[in-house]
Amino acid sequence: MSGLLKGLQDVRKFLKLLGTHKMGLVGVVIFVILGIIVIFAPYLRTVNPLRTGLYENILVPPNAQFWFGTDHLARDIWSQTLYGARIAFLVGFTSAGVTVVIGTLVGLVAGYFGGKLDEVIMRITDFFMMLPYLPLMIVFAAILGPSIRNIILVISIVYWPYTARVIRSQVLSLKERAFVESSRSVGASDRLLIFGEIMPNVVPLMFAEVVLMVTWAIYAEAVLAFLGLGDPTTISWGIMLNYAFNMGLMTYAPWWVIPPIACLCFTILAFTFVGTAVSDIMKPGYREARGL
């Protein structure tokens, strides 16, 4: 377990370094704002985002009562936008968690054991990466039925090979290093070598993968929802856009469209910026250049 602790320390060092990167800082600031919205959405909202309103309140432009206006069922756009952040974070982090855990385990096993096993696993990942991921997600989501759980499942099925490949190539170089060799020479088991020696060293890489996968997962949820495969019992940014689009009201009611669009852009850009910063920081020489 001391290995895991060391890994967590690495993550903390990492976050500190992130503060020195301009793009990363912007990303982190947006991320914190979104995090506050996610946590405090019930207090920031004006009404229940799913509660339909009175007939005369259908599609009203922004005013004092409805800050961002209303949709075709007279529901409050401001409250919907806030709750959309919750769905984005829920789907984003859960899918990223599942994807990175699966991908890391597969990558560790393939990289560590090598040989035939590695070859078979890599063929499988190659095959998955060759599939048209959006049509694949659409087919799965359409068959499994629209729900948050299924969307998370679909995203994980499609994205794990990307993480597996990244982790594997890191493991390949790690397992040749002296500290692994010395553990092996005193008789450490495969399990101890994988989880005690190698895994702590891929924790920063896993962190980078989580950031990337959150971005991809938020995108995937949004596009699936926009195409009509979102969970109809919830409100997400993609679902808001899907309703506006299906009603043919995109240009009639821009107040309905602009909030989810802006939120999606900010969220995805925030994670992209953090991701860029993370990969910059991990390049050798970044710390040295800044005297850290």
Partner: protein, 330 residues
């Protein structure tokens, strides 16, 4: 000897691609069999269909017998008759439905690709050439932004800006309905409609080409032959054209193939937003209609397109790059 090396390389690549396509075909079969529920029921989705009709459909779609019998029947229909199934929503064979939409998509994608490759490599090369300058940092930030924003989001933004506020481009469809245009006027009308969907795809593509070309350019500029060209006193513009650009282009060829998968997603999104009548829009309308046979067929078409594109790029690359030719012979 070199040709023999390349031939060996080509044969290996082609057989790997064929194997991948075969596995995809199998996956396509099993995806729709392992799911809970009944494929015929799924296809109909209407509980009022009579049991006789259902039984008829079981026979018609080879859903009788063991899973293995079904699989053999499926392969038979696919390979002998090119039968991808029947769309109940559209009352037509799936192959026909898809084939009728392919030309519109190809027109859109090829136009977008040409524009994006030309502009993207140019901007990326200049950015790489001038690494660290203001121009470079502006270009790279914009590219990264465009590259990360989903195509459908970008499409909706363009729809609002151009369609609503500026009102200069039509926001949907491929032709002005009821205008009855012919000849040159028709072509102009189509191009006019193509502007926004094409633009949404181009914006994403360009970002990608800029980033890749820039990185490749930076790598090339570090090479010894550039230094020696400079030492010889060759003019900077000549070094850029004759030495740097040529070598920096190679990775651009690779990404075109590798990222067809991403392009497929972009096309689905752009066509949906702008109502462009291609196979991307067909994905959306099939989802809406829960038209599983068409979705299944589209999945296969996209997968084969991706594998083929990758194969073509691999072969071109193998032909250009002498190291692969030699390696392939061993």
């Amino acid at each position: 000897m070199a040709l023999k090396g390349f031939a060996g390389f080509a044969i290996r690549k082609i057989s790997a691609a064929l194997l991948t396509i075969f596995v995809i075909i199998c996956v396509n079969f099993f995806i729709f069999r392992v799911i809970p529920g009944d494929p015929v029921r799924l296809m109909f989705g209407d509980p009022r269909v009579s049991p006789q009709k259902i039984q008829e459909m079981y026979v018609r779609f080879g859903l009788t017998g063991t899973l293995w019998d079904q699989f053999v029947a499926y392969l038979n229909r696919l390979f002998l008759y090119g039968d991808l199934g029947y769309s109940f929503a559209r009352k037509a064979p799936v192959l026909e439905v898809i084939a009728s939409k392919v030309p519109q998509t190809l027109m859109l994608v090829i136009t977008a690709l040409i524009i994006a490759v030309a502009l993207g490599t140019l901007l990326g090369a200049i950015a790489g050439w001038k690494t660290g300058t203001k121009f470079d940092s502006i270009i790279i930030t914009i590219s990264l932004t465009f590259y990360s924003i989903p195509t459908f989001v970008m499409g909706i933004i363009m729809l609002l800006i151009f369609g609503l506020y500026l009102g200069i481009f039509p926001i949907g469809g491929m032709v002005t309905i009821g205008a009855g245009l012919t000849g040159f006027a028709y072509v102009r009308d189509v191009l006019w409609h193509m502007f926004l969907p094409c633009g949404a795809i181009v914006v994403w593509y360009i970002g990608e080409y800029v980033i890749v070309t820039r990185n490749s350019m930076q790598d090339v500029l570090d090479q010894d032959y550039i230094t020696s060209a400079r030492a010889k006193g060759i003019k900077e513009s000549a070094i850029l054209r004759r030495h740097a650009l040529r070598n920096a282009i190679l990775p651009v060829v690779t990404i075109t193939g590798v990222n067809v998968a991403f392009a497929v997603a972009g096309v689905i999104e752009a066509e949906t937003v702008f109502g462009w009548p291609g196979i991307g829009r067909l994905v959306f309308s099939s989802v809406m209609a829960r038209d599983y046979p068409v979705l299944q067929g589209l999945f296969l078409v996209f997968a084969v397109a991706i594998v083929t594109a990758n194969l073509v790029v691999d072969l071109i690359y193998g032909y250009i790059d002498p190291r692969i030719k030699v390696g392939g012979g061993q």
